[in-house]
Amino acid sequence: MIVCVAVVGHQNNPLYLQSFTEADDELKLHHIVQCSLDVIDERVNNPKKTGPTLNETFLGLLYPTENYKVYGYLTNTKVKFIFVTTDLDVRDADVRNFFRRFHSAYVDAVSNPFHVPGKKITSRTFAERVSTIVKSFGMSAAA
């Protein structure tokens, strides 16, 4: 189950961060997302280290914390998508699929003329779409 989804901008600033837990560990999730940015930087700056996902938008598993897993995705416009899940075994295809759908949702959100690029995403429709995508995560629905 996905506990947190985040969109992070150019300057590693959070553009959208939503947690899907009842527990009050929101801060912890913030921390996790923020720390995973280090891994993203690492992979982008010297990509030879990360063999399979070379120059792919999908960055794969960023790092396992004590009881979470963090996956990352980097668009060509240097916007980072990160989600944190508690599932122990996650299928790669699911993650890619998730990110694909998430990306389209994001693009629609920022293409809204009333959205100023570089600012936080406050669109409600986006939030709803994201929550549906999150809910449908795991059951391999085609994008």
Partner: protein, 1259 residues
């Protein structure tokens, strides 16, 4: 890692035991220890001590009924108590002594063998010769050698007392191979031999021991391996069986336990001793042994790993111990196995394998929390795993340098970056330790009977099995071990847990991971660790350290705009500074928090989550408002509300008011942002210009500012704005009076709304006027000094720019918002002083030309004025002609500034020394004295023209209108004037031959190619020189004198120049264009083709007109214009023709004229002459003839002429041709004119001196 037993951490060393002959032990053991690999020795003085090696009672008991998986001390035992080899040392005299001794030896051997056989320890017998008698060795010695090489042979020969059969008997008894019977000579007489022997013996002993211990360990290994292979499957299936008949008898269980229990240690024993020994060897061994070593290594790993797996299988199965302790024991053993495995892997450089192995280890045990009461034990264990692995990674970090290249992990389970770095493990270790602490606190609070924990925990000791602990019961004088029940064990564990202070451990771990994350440039991970670290410090109320770490973290979050995290950290910081009691920090943090971009929607938190949040509480708008209120209460003077715990001794005391600085990078920019924009770029001094001051604050509640102070770089422009609502502050800075005070209707800042104030500013001082800062005073003791920013270059608020809000301009006018600057350029004041250059006409070359300069001050008084004079060529080009190189030649400048004359003629340099005065040829600097309003000051610039060149004269006056301020900027007046230079007089000259006397100048006849232009004069003949001076200026000139100076004195002899007539007494006035002539007669004395005649010196001056008289009483200085006359060519004329005849004749009256031909040469000159006819005369005589003129003599022709016409008539033309020179000489026409009167006139001669005679007819 340190808390592991030393024998576990370090590779074991094989052990050898020496029995008997204690005097030798030291030397031997030291030698063996220095052996590579080292061999430890267990020295037993005599055979009575050998029991230590024997299986002790306890062991035998345990082997029957094993209490645990793995004995705590088994490796230790193999290192200290159970040797691999026993060396029995017998003195030779015992061996070869009387039967009693021999019997003693035999019994000792027997006992020893008994002991040794139990553990199948290898045996070596050493026979020691105490005394050696020196005598020649002979042949039979060779028979005695017992399979020893030559040196021993000699020894054996020395040991001749021991008879061979005794030796053999000894060998038989000892049941050792002959080569394990060593004969040892204790002391040899000759040092060299001794050392030799010692070395030899030791070498032999060492090799024997090494070999034997090696074989021993290998045999042990093999033996137990076979046992495992025999039993392992059985143990498994036993386990399985055991699984479903869980109710079986304890006896049965004990057997299973025995099996498993004996599998474990034996495996371990083999592997440890074996592999570690090998690895030890590997360190010194060469590449040659690599393959073998490697093989063993892999094997060792394999053993460790399946030991580990068997153990893992045990978990579900065994119920030998109560559940909790069983789990603890298994975990402990697993820990040690894991430690060994990962050590081997890492030292082998197989980092990835090690890490994956650790992963599995972690994954397989993470879930085994065990009983809830002692779950903290699990967390402690976990954290220890991570810590140990981290330390292992660190120690072997040298081998994992190449990780950057390797492809991480498997595609399905990829390794992530941090798993390669110890930081990750430190971090998690700290994390689990925190878990442990919290669980422990929970458990402690749960267990109400805290006191009796202590009571029954003291008698608990660790048992002989790893990971077990038993109670020591004292029955009389005997001690008995008793297993604990789980309840007891829990109490014991709790008591143990209480003894440790975990916080410091946690802090150390976090710090370690913080540092190592920082080393690998993972700043966010590092800052997260720093955050946890700081929180630990906070929890143990070490607020300063906490604050310092929180600060570091906060900067990152600020920079990347993680508001929620920043809020959290700031909350801690705020609390810290409150506890420390530093008001400034407290207010700063509070203000920043209050101004964070947190909308109320962001933090919808149910209150029961309070624990999760720091002292700041949940990030929400109400919380911001609370903080806002609190801090402003504090500012107003009420101390902080007592609601929050901790010594809140915060208040701002009046004597030291609080002053916050907000600069361009300060995080407090969100609190107050001041943008200042002038409405235009340049302004004249004293002219007011508009300035818009815009203030923005993101504080959630409106802020009332009591007083605004706007400060400029020109302090006199500063002004203050008071709030109309508020009474003027008494405490506000009334220090400087006379400051402008504006009054604004309202000075309230609302969140995210610009407060725009427009005022006019007037600056008297030219230069840059820049608004530096805006100080907002709230209350009497609090002020925020905010650096002014210009809207053009203002970068947006760092945190708020990500917010979805409407950007507003600081100024209403968007163009001003784009281009507005906080600085403005104030121009120079325009001068109110006239600078008059009175120049009259063109300057004349040679004269010193005066340009009068008048400085008339109309509006300004002139202080410290200075006059700059500069002349440049009007046509561009420089004033220095390239021809003259030498700098001091007066002509090097065509025009030069000679000097500056003061108002009344005297030189300016005489006036005081404070005046600057600098004069170069084309530049002058002159200081102008103080001139009051309405007064004027004047001076004259004196120039001299050397060439007729037009010149641009620039004069600029710089002065300061205000007295005595050096800072006051200067006003400047510039004037320029073009002056053209003219040559005053042009001097010309002409040479004329004497009247009616024509020398034959050959150069005239046949002009030499070069001397064409040079005038030629006849030697010793008077000729006339006419000098003419023409005034070509526009002004009338006065000629004072004209003369010819003959410069070189030899020319004085060479030619004489007389002035015809004398100097004009009264200066001849030369109107423009008029020419003045003067006649000189010149007689060359020497015959030279180049004769310098001299230079004409013309002294003249301007004719003083009226205007100059009026402006200056002095008449213009006289000027000398000199003109060098060209050289003349003097030559001796061979023939001179002169005509003698009356100047006039009367019509019809005959008269005679003579033509004299003088021959000045030594030669006879033949000349032809001819006389042309003329219609106005009739003449008698030859018309033409050829005559000879004798040398140095003359020939005179005489003609009688009768004029036929009156008036000025031409005499018949006479032409002479010299045959010798073939040169024709024709006298000038002018010489051959006579005036013919129609009738004889009367002459009245008035004055003799009169040259020309005017005829006056008289009837």
């Amino acid at each position: 890692m340190e808390d592991y037993a030393e024998e576990l951490r370090t590779p074991p060393v094989s052990l050898v035991s020496l029995v008997g002959c204690p005097e030798l032990h030291a030397t031997i053991s030291s030698y063996l220890h220095s052996e590579q690999p080292p061999i430890n020795t267990l020295a037993l003085p005599d055979f009575s001590k050998i029991s230590v090696m024997a299986r002790t009672q306890k062991e035998t008991l345990d082997s029957g009924h094993p209490g645990g998986i793995l004995k705590r001390d088994w490796i230790l035992k193999h290192r200290t108590r159970v040797p691999a080899v026993v060396a029995a040392l017998f003195t030779s005299d015992h061996v070869s002594g009387d039967p009693a001794q021999w019997l003693q030896v035999c019994t000792d051997l027997e006992n020893l063998k008994a002991v040794v056989r139990g553990r199948n320890i290898k045996l070596v017998v050493v026979v020691v010769h105490s005394t050696v008698k020196e005598h020649s060795c002979d042949a039979p010695a060779s028979r005695k050698e017992v399979s020893l090489d030559t040196i021993e042979e000699k020894l054996v020969f020395n040991a001749d007392e021991v008879s061979e059969d005794r030796m053999i008997a000894l060998r038989k008894r000892a049941e050792v191979d002959s080569k394990y019977l060593v004969i040892f000579v204790q002391n040899d007489s000759s040092e060299l031999k001794q050392s030799l022997n010692r070395q030899a013996i030791f070498f032999k002993l060492g090799s024997i021991f090494a070999e034997l211990s090696n074989t021993y360990y290998r045999d042990e290994g093999r033996r137990i391996k076979t046992r495992i292979e025999r039993k392992s499957f059985k143990s498994i299936e036993l386990n399985i069986r055991y699984c479903f008949k869980a109710r079986a008898s304890t006896l049965f269980f004990s057997i299973k336990k025995c099996l498993i229990g004996c599998i474990m240690p034996s495996k371990l024993q083999t592997i440890v001793s074996f592999t570690d020994w090998k690895r030890n060897a590997e360190e010194i061994s060469r590449v040659a042994v690599y393959a073998e070593f490697h093989r063993d290594w892999v094997e060792a790993l394999r053993f460790y790993e399946d030991a580990y797996h068997v153990l893992r299988e045990m978990i579900g199965t065994s119920t030998r111990l109560p559940a909790i302790q069983r789990l603890v024991e298994i975990k402990t053993v697993a820990e040690q196995l894991h430690f060994k495995v990962s050590t081997l892997l890492l030292h082998g450089g197989k980092v990835i394998e090690a890490i994956t192995w650790f992963r599995q280890h972690n994954a397989s045990y993470r879930k085994l929390m065990g009983a809830p009461e002692v779950v903290f034990l699990h967390w402690e264990w976990m954290s220890r795993q991570f810590l140990v692995f981290a330390e292992l990674l660190d120690t072997s970090s040298t081998t994992i340098l190449n990780t950057s290249t390797l492809i991480l992990g498997t595609p399905e389970r990829p390794l992530t970056e941090w798993e390669l770095h110890s930081a990750y493990y430190y971090h998690l270790a700290a994390h689990y330790l925190r878990e442990k602490r919290s669980c422990l606190e929970l458990a402690l609070s749960a267990s109400e009977t805290a006191n009796e924990i202590d009571s029954n925990s003291e008698s608990v000791i660790p048992s002989i099995y790893v990971g077990q602990s038993t109670r020591l019961l004292q029955q009389g004088d005997a001690f008995a071990m008793q297993h604990l029940t789980d309840a007891e064990y829990i109490l014991f564990a709790l008591a143990e847990g209480k003894r440790f202070q975990d916080s410091f451990e946690i802090i150390a771990l976090f710090k370690k991971s913080f540092e190592s994350y920082s080393d690998i440039k993972a700043q966010r991970m590092a800052s997260y660790c720093g955050y946890r670290l700081a929180r630990e410090y906070f929890s143990i109320s070490d607020f300063r350290k906490a604050k310092q770490h929180f600060d570091g973290v906060a900067s990152l979050y600020r920079h990347e705009g993680w508001v929620t995290l920043l809020w959290e950290v700031l909350g801690y910081l705020r609390e810290c500074s409150r506890r420390i009691g530093s008001v400034k920090d407290f207010i700063e943090y509070s203000l920043e928090m209050a101004a964070l971009p947190i909308s109320s929607s962001a933090g919808v938190q149910s209150p029961n989550h309070k624990g999760e949040y720091g002292p700041a509480g949940p990030a929400s708008l109400p919380q911001r408002e609370i903080i806002h209120k609190e801090v402003f209460e504090l500012i107003k003077g009420e101390s902080v509300s007592a609601s929050n715990e901790g010594a809140s001794n915060l208040d701002i005391t009046g004597d030291q008011p609080l002053h916050l600085e907000i600069d361009l990078v300060s995080p407090l920019r969100v609190v107050l942002l001041a943008s200042v924009a002038f409405h235009d770029q340049v302004v004249k001094p004293g002219v007011p210009t508009l300035l818009t001051l815009s203030l923005l604050s993101q504080l959630p509640l409106p802020v009332e500012i009591d007083l605004l102070e706007i400060q400029f770089n020109q302090p006199e422009c500063n002004f203050t704005i008071t709030n109309a609502q508020k009474p003027p502050l008494v405490a506000s800075s009334n220090g400087e009076e006379g400051l402008r005070v504006e009054n604004a209707p309202v000075l309230a800042l609302h969140m995210d709304k610009w407060l725009r104030l427009t005022y006019d500013v007037k600056s008297e001082q030219s230069g840059k006027l820049e608004c530096i800062s805006v100080i907002a005073r709230m209350g009497s003791r609090f002020a925020i000094c905010c650096r002014a920013e210009s809207p053009a270059s203002m970068d947006d608020l760092r945190l708020w720019k990500f917010e979805d809000r409407v950007e507003t301009f600081p100024t209403k006018d968007p163009s001003l918002a784009f281009s507005g600057q906080k600085a403005i350029q104030v121009e120079d004041p325009d001068p109110q002083v006239d600078l008059i250059l009175g120049a009259t006409g063109p300057a004349l070359v040679g004269e010193s030309f005066l340009v009068p300069v008048r400085v008339v001050s109309k509006g300004h008084t002139i202080h410290s004025g200075e006059l700059k004079i500069n002349i440049v060529d009007a046509k561009g080009g420089g004033l220095v002609s390239p021809r003259e190189i030498e700098p001091f030649s007066i002509d090097s400048h065509h025009v030069e500034l000679l000097g500056i004359l003061g108002p009344d003629g005297e030189d300016e340099s005489q006036t005081g020394p404070e005046n600057i005065r600098k004069i170069q040829q084309s530049f002058g600097l002159l200081s102008v004295p103080f001139v009051n309003i309405g007064e004027s000051w004047s001076c004259k610039l004196e120039f001299k023209w050397h060439r007729p060149k037009p010149v641009m004269l620039y004069v600029s006056l710089g002065y300061s209108p205000h007295s005595n301020e050096a800072t006051a900027q200067k006003a400047h007046v510039h004037k320029s004037l073009q002056i053209k230079g003219k040559t005053a007089v042009v001097i010309g000259h002409r040479f004329m031959l004497p009247f009616r006397r024509d020398p034959l100048l050959l150069s005239k006849i046949k002009p030499a190619p070069d001397s064409d232009q040079v005038a030629s004069l006849a030697l010793k003949e008077t000729s006339i020189l006419i000098i003419s001076a023409k005034n070509c200026s526009e002004v009338p000139l006065q000629l004072l004198s004209m003369s010819i100076e003959v410069d070189e004195d030899e020319n004085r002899r060479s030619c004489t120049v007389q002035h015809g007539g004398e100097n004009p007494i009264d200066p001849a006035l030369l109107v423009p264009g008029e020419e003045f002539k003067r006649v000189f007669s010149i007689i060359p004395e020497v015959n030279t083709p180049k004769l310098g005649v001299g230079t004409v010196c013309l002294r003249w001056r301007r004719n003083p007109g009226f205007e100059e008289k009026s402006c200056s009483g002095t008449i213009a200085a006289e000027v000398v214009t000199s003109h060098k006359l060209p050289d003349i060519n003097v030559e001796m004329a061979p023939l001179i023709v002169s005509l003698k005849c009356l100047p006039h004749a009367i019509l019809g009256v005959p008269f005679t004229c003579y033509i004299r031909i003088e021959n000045q040469t030594q030669l006879l000159q033949e000349v032809k002459y001819s006389l042309a006819d003329s219609q106005s005369f009739v003449l008698s005589g030859f018309h033409n003839d050829t005559i000879f003129v004798l040398p140095k003599s003359e020939h005179i022709l005489g003609y009688k002429l009768v004029p036929l016409a009156s008036g000025s008539q031409q005499l018949p033309r006479f032409t002479l041709t010299s045959v010798r020179y073939s040169a024709e000489l024709q006298p000038a026409l002018a010489a051959y004119t006579v005036f013919v009167f129609p009738s004889k006139p009367h002459f009245t001669v008035e004055d003799v001196g009169e040259k020309k005679t005017e005829p006056s007819a008289t009837e």
